[in-house]
C-alpha cells in the first residue's frame, strides 16, 4: 500500500473511552423523560435484565446457528421470538427477523407482487414517510408501481377511497396501524374494501407496544404483517440496531424471505430446534431465492424475546395501558391551551397530532434549547399540514414531566 493510513490511534482503553465520551457529550439531546417524539422510534424503558442477558457472551459472540447441536440457545430464543411475534401480530408464522420495519415492509411488498403475479401497490401517505421511501428504493427496478394515495387530510384511511384506487392489477394494499399520525385504523373495513380486487393486504405496525391492548393485524384478515420491533428490548441509538418483524399466514410460509427456526427431534427423540426451509434462501437458491437477506437482527430478536418474557401477558397489557393513559392525559392537557387542538377526531394509542396557532418551528427550537424534544414538525413531510406537530407520550413520562411540557408550550404558543 502506497499511502499510510491517516487514522488516529492506537488508543488505550482509557483514552478510547475519553475520546468517545467527548463525542457523546456533543449529543446534547433531551433525556428520555423529556423526549416526546415517537415517529417510528418510541421512548421506552427496557428492563435492565435484558441487556445483561444478551451480554452473555454465548449469545453475542456466536454466528448464525448453522450447527444446531451447538446453537440450541440462539435457536430456542429465536423460536420464542417467532412465537411471540406471530401471536402479537395475530399471524400464524413469523420469521427470525429482518433489518428493520421499513425493509420488512419492502420485502413483504415484493413477496406480494411475486405471489399474485401483479405489480401495483397501493400505499397511503398515512404510512411512515421513511418506510415509504425504503419501499420505493427496493421496488424501483422490479417493475412494481407504487400508487401513493393521499389520504392524510382524513387522519385515517377512508376505505372507499382505498377501494377506488384498487383494480385487478393491484397486488397489495399497505396499511399502517396505528398510522404515522398515531390514529388506529379500521382494519376490518379496509380488509373488506380490498376483497373485490383480489389484492393482498399488509398490516404494518411501527409501535408494537400498542399490541398489549390492540389486536394484531392478523385478527382482521391481513395476509402479511410487518413491524418495527425496537420497542421490545432495543434502544434508540439514533435508529439502529432496529428489528424488522415479519409474519404471514401459514399458507405463505414457504414463500417468505429470511431465516426460519423450526422444532424437530434429535436422534434420541429429544425436542430440538434448527434452521429450516432453507431452500427458500440465497445460499441454496441463489438468484431464485425469496430475498437476498443473510445476516439479520438475531441479537435484537433475542432481546425482544427476553423483554416480552419478563413482561408476560399482564405486563404487556400494563405497559400498553401506561402508554395509553399518558398520551391521553397529555393530549387533554394540551387541548386546554387556547388555540391548540387535536388535528384529528380519531382514536389513538400513544401518539397524536396537534394543531398550533402558529408555525411550530421556533417553538420547537426554543423548547429544544431548554432540554425538550417536544414533537415533530409535520410540515416537512406534509406541506398541507402547516402548524401541526406529532407528539408521543409513553410509560416513561410522569404526570410532572407532561405538566412541565404543557406549561412550556402554553408559554411559547401564544
Amino acid at each position: 500500500m502506497a499511502h499510510p493510513l491517516d487514522i488516529p490511534g492506537p488508543l488505550s482503553e482509557m483514552d478510547l473511552m475519553d475520546w468517545f465520551e467527548a463525542a457523546a457529550d456533543k449529543n446534547t439531546h433531551a433525556g428520555p423523560r423529556r423526549t416526546f417524539i415517537g415517529a417510528g422510534a418510541y421512548v421506552h424503558h427496557v428492563p435492565t435484565a435484558v441487556d445483561h442477558l444478551i451480554s452473555r457472551t454465548e449469545f453475542f459472540t456466536c454466528y448464525t446457528p448453522y450447527q444446531p447441536e451447538v446453537s440450541q440457545g440462539t435457536l430456542a430464543a429465536i423460536y420464542e421470538y417467532q412465537t411471540y411475534t406471530a401471536a402479537l401480530l395475530g399471524m400464524e408464522v413469523a420469521n427470525a427477523s429482518m433489518y428493520d420495519g421499513p425493509s420488512a415492509l419492502a420485502e413483504a411488498v415484493i413477496m406480494a407482487c411475486r405471489i399474485t403475479g401483479r405489480n401495483k401497490v397501493v400505499m397511503p401517505d398515512l404510512v411512515h414517510p421513511n418506510w415509504r421511501q425504503v419501499v420505493q428504493t427496493y421496488t424501483r427496478h422490479l417493475g412494481i408501481e407504487i400508487v401513493n394515495l393521499e389520504l392524510a387530510s382524513d387522519g385515517v384511511c377512508n376505505p372507499e377511497k382505498l377501494a377506488a384506487a384498487m383494480d385487478h392489477e393491484t397486488a397489495v394494499v399497505v396499511v399502517q396501524s396505528p398510522n404515522f399520525f398515531g390514529c388506529v385504523e379500521d382494519l376490518d373495513s379496509i380488509n373488506r374494501a380490498r376483497e373485490e380486487s383480489g389484492a393482498l393486504l399488509i398490516g404494518a405496525v411501527a409501535e408494537p407496544m400498542s399490541l398489549g391492548l390492540l389486536k394484531g393485524p392478523g385478527a382482521f384478515g391481513v395476509d402479511m404483517a410487518v413491524a418495527e420491533g425496537r420497542s421490545f428490548g432495543g434502544s434508540l441509538s439514533f435508529g439502529g440496531p432496529a428489528l424488522g418483524m415479519f409474519a404471514v399466514k401459514s399458507s405463505l410460509a414457504r414463500k417468505m424471505p429470511g431465516r426460519l427456526v423450526g422444532k424437530t427431534k434429535d436422534t434420541i427423540g429429544r425436542d430440538a430446534y434448527t434452521l429450516t426451509l432453507s431452500t427458500r434462501e440465497q445460499p441454496i437458491r441463489r438468484e431464485k431465492a425469496t430475498s437476498n437477506i443473510c445476516s439479520n437482527q438475531a441479537l435484537m430478536a433475542t432481546a425482544a424475546a427476553i423483554h416480552i418474557s419478563l413482561l408476560g401477558a399482564s405486563g404487556l397489557r400494563e405497559v400498553a395501558l401506561a402508554n395509553l393513559t399518558a398520551a391521553h392525559y397529555l393530549a387533554r392537557r394540551l387541548e386546554e391551551i387556547a388555540g391548540v387542538k387535536l388535528a384529528f377526531d380519531k382514536q389513538f394509542f400513544n401518539e397524536f397530532v396537534v394543531t398550533l396557532p402558529k408555525d411550530p418551528g421556533p417553538l420547537l427550537a426554543t423548547l429544544a434549547s431548554v432540554g425538550y424534544l417536544a414533537g415533530l414538525d409535520l410540515g416537512r413531510w406534509y406541506p398541507d399540514m402547516k402548524n401541526t406537530i406529532l407528539i408521543s407520550a409513553t410509560e416513561v413520562h410522569s404526570k410532572r414531566n407532561m405538566d412541565d411540557l404543557v406549561d412550556l408550550i402554553a408559554r411559547e404558543a401564544i
Binding site: 493510513l5 422510534a41 435484565a49 459472540t61 430440538a272
Partner: protein
C-alpha cells in the same frame, strides 16, 4: 417443574410458554402517577384484544435462569476456536461494548435535531472517512445493515450511473464461487445474474470473462480474495477489461481481513465495495446479526449514495444532507445499525494504523499454517498458498464413507466449532477454514491435531465418527422432519 442437572452444571430447561402463575411479572414498568384510563373509552371496541394466551408469567430470577441456561447451549468465540470460513470470527473486544453503551449515544432519538446529534454524526462521518482510506475509495454510506444490504445498495448505484449514461444494461456477472447473496442482490436490482465458471486454479478465468463481458453487462461482482481463499491476482487486468467495455467492478468485501491495511480495493480498479463490519472490524455477530455493511465507492458514483448523507460543513458542524437528486433513495428506516458503527469505530481507534496492518499478516500466516499441517491428511483442491482462509474437502475420507458433515460433527466433540461446510459448491464436500488473527499457535495446533485425529479415525473406525456429536446438549437433528412438517412456533401462544 423439576430442575434436572444434565451433566454437571449444564441444565435442562423447559420451553417458556405457559409457565408461571398468572399475575407474576418479571418487571414493573414506570407509571405516570395518573389513574389508568379505561381502554374501552379511548380505543375502538372491535380493536381491543382479549387475553394473550400462553405468554409466561415469571419473575425476573426465573426469566434470568431461563436465558442463562439456554445461553450455555451455545458455542461462541469466547468459548473456543470458531474457524467458520468467510465469517471472520475474530475476538470481539469488550471495550467496544462499553463504547456503544455510553448514554449519550444509546439514548439519542433518530429524529432529534441535527445540532443535538453532533457526536453521533461526527462518528458516522469519521468512520466513513476511515473506511474510505482503508479501502482506497472516495465516499461511503453507512446505512446498509448487513453485507447483502450493502450489495443491493452498491448495485443500485451502478444501475443509477449506467442509467444516466443512457443504458442500465441487463446482466451482472459473478464467478461460480461467489456468495449466494451476490446473484440474489443482482436480481433485486432488476439484473439477470450470469454465472462465470472459475478457471482450473479457482480464479476468474480471463478468457471466459473476455467472451461474456459485453455491452449489456452492467457489472462484474467479484470477491477478493475469493471464497476459496485465493487472491484474484489478475484483478487489475479484470477491472480494466470490464471498464473498457463500459461496466463497473463490484467487490464483495467479506474477505477484507485478508489484506486489511496492506492493499486497497481502490488500487485494484474496484468501483464499489461493501465492507462487513461484523467480520473485519470485530463487531459481534450476535447469533446472526445485527451486522453492518457500509458501501464505499469511487468519486464518480458518490452522487448516487443513499440519502441522507452526512456532511462536514466549513463551520465544523456535521449536517444531514437530504437534497440529493441523483440518490438511489433510502435503504434504512434511519441511519443504519448505528450501535454497530460505534463498535467498529472503537476497534479502528484501538488498533491504530499499525495495528490494523498487522491483522492481515497474522490472519494469512495462521491460515497457511493450518494448510501446511493438514495438507498430508486432507485433500486440498486448489493447491498453492492461500490468503486468510483455506478450503479442504472430504475426498480422502469419503473412501471410508466419512463425509464433511461427519467431520464437522466430530470436531464439535473435540471442542471446536466446525468450519463452513459444503461451500463454495465448486469444491465437492468443501470445508472452508478461516482462523483469523486473534488465535494463538497453541489453539491452531489443538485444532490441527483434532482434524488429524479425525482423519485417522475415518480410516480406522469410521463408525465412531458417524455418531458425533455426543458431548452436546442435543445429538444430530432430524432436519428432514423439520422441513416436511414445519413447526415454526409454539401453538400455546395466541
Amino acid at each position: 417443574m423439576s430442575v434436572e442437572s444434565q451433566r454437571g452444571i449444564n441444565f435442562r430447561e423447559e420451553e417458556i410458554f405457559g409457565r408461571g402463575n398468572p399475575g407474576r411479572e418479571g418487571y414493573t414498568p414506570p407509571w405516570s402517577g395518573l389513574a389508568a384510563l379505561d381502554p374501552e373509552s379511548a380505543l375502538p371496541a372491535g380493536a381491543l384484544r382479549g387475553e394473550l394466551e400462553g405468554f409466561p408469567s415469571l419473575s425476573e430470577p426465573e426469566v434470568t435462569r431461563h436465558y442463562t441456561r439456554m445461553s450455555q447451549w451455545n458455542f461462541a468465540v469466547d468459548l473456543n476456536f470458531y474457524p467458520l470460513g468467510s465469517c471472520t470470527m475474530k475476538y470481539n473486544p469488550r471495550i467496544n461494548e462499553a463504547v456503544a453503551r455510553i448514554g449519550g449515544f444509546s439514548t439519542l432519538h433518530p429524529m432529534a435535531p441535527q445540532e443535538q446529534a453532533q457526536g453521533t454524526l461526527r462518528i458516522i462521518n469519521d468512520l466513513g472517512r476511515w473506511l474510505c482510506q482503508i479501502s482506497g475509495m472516495d465516499a461511503a454510506t453507512l446505512q446498509p445493515a448487513a453485507g447483502a444490504h450493502g450489495e443491493f445498495t452498491g448495485l443500485l448505484m451502478i444501475r443509477a450511473a449506467l442509467t444516466e449514461r443512457g443504458n442500465p444494461r441487463k446482466k451482472v456477472l459473478l464467478p461460480d464461487s461467489s456468495h449466494g447473496t451476490n446473484p440474489a442482490s443482482a436480481v433485486y436490482c432488476g439484473y439477470e445474474a450470469v454465472t462465470l465458471p472459475s478457471g482450473p486454479d479457482g480464479r476468474v478465468d480471463m478468457a471466459q470473462l473476455d467472451r461474456v463481458m459485453d455491452d449489456e453487462t452492467a457489472a462484474l461482482m467479484v470477491t477478493n480474495p475469493n471464497t476459496l481463499g485465493i487472491f484474484e491476482s489478475d484483478i487489475i487486468r479484470i477491472s480494466r477489461l470490464v471498464h473498457d467495455r463500459g461496466g463497473f467492478v463490484y467487490c464483495d468485501g467479506a474477505n477484507l481481513n485478508a489484506f486489511l491495511g496492506k492493499a486497497r480495493f481502490g488500487d485494484m480498479g474496484v468501483d464499489v465495495a461493501h465492507i462487513n463490519l461484523h467480520k473485519t472490524f470485530s463487531t459481534p455477530h450476535g447469533g446472526g446479526g445485527p451486522g453492518a455493511g457500509p458501501v464505499v465507492v469511487k468519486r464518480e458514483l458518490a452522487p448516487y449514495l443513499p440519502f441522507p448523507v452526512v456532511e462536514h460543513a466549513g463551520d465544523g458542524a456535521y449536517r444531514l444532507e437530504y437534497d440529493r437528486p441523483q440518490s438511489v433513495g433510502r435503504v434504512h428506516g434511519f441511519f443504519g445499525n448505528t450501535g454497530v458503527l460505534l463498535r467498529a469505530a472503537a476497534y479502528i481507534l484501538s488498533m491504530g494504523p499499525q495495528g490494523l496492518a498487522q491483522v492481515a499478516e497474522a490472519a494469512v500466516i495462521n491460515a497457511n499454517y493450518i494448510r501446511a499441517r493438514l495438507g498430508n491428511h486432507y485433500h486440498i483442491p486448489y493447491p498453492g498458498r492461500c490468503m486468510h482462509e483455506l478450503v479442504i474437502t472430504d475426498k480422502l475420507q469419503a473412501e471410508y464413507g466419512v463425509t464433511t458433515l461427519d467431520i464437522a460433527k466430530a470436531l464439535i466433540d473435540r471442542g471446536f466449532h466446525p468450519p463452513t461446510v459444503y461451500f463454495p459448491t465448486i469444491a465437492r464436500g468443501a470445508m472452508m477454514i478461516e482462523p483469523t488473527e486473534t488465535e494463538s499457535l497453541e489453539t491452531l495446533d489443538g485444532f490441527c491435531e483434532a482434524m488429524i485425529e479425525i482423519a485417522d479415525l475415518a480410516r480406522r473406525d469410521p463408525e465412531s465418527i458417524k455418531a458425533a456429536p455426543v458431548t452436546t446438549v442435543r445429538t444430530r437433528l432430524d432436519e428432514a422432519a423439520a422441513a416436511r412438517r414445519p413447526q415454526l412456533r409454539c401453538s400455546l401462544c395466541g
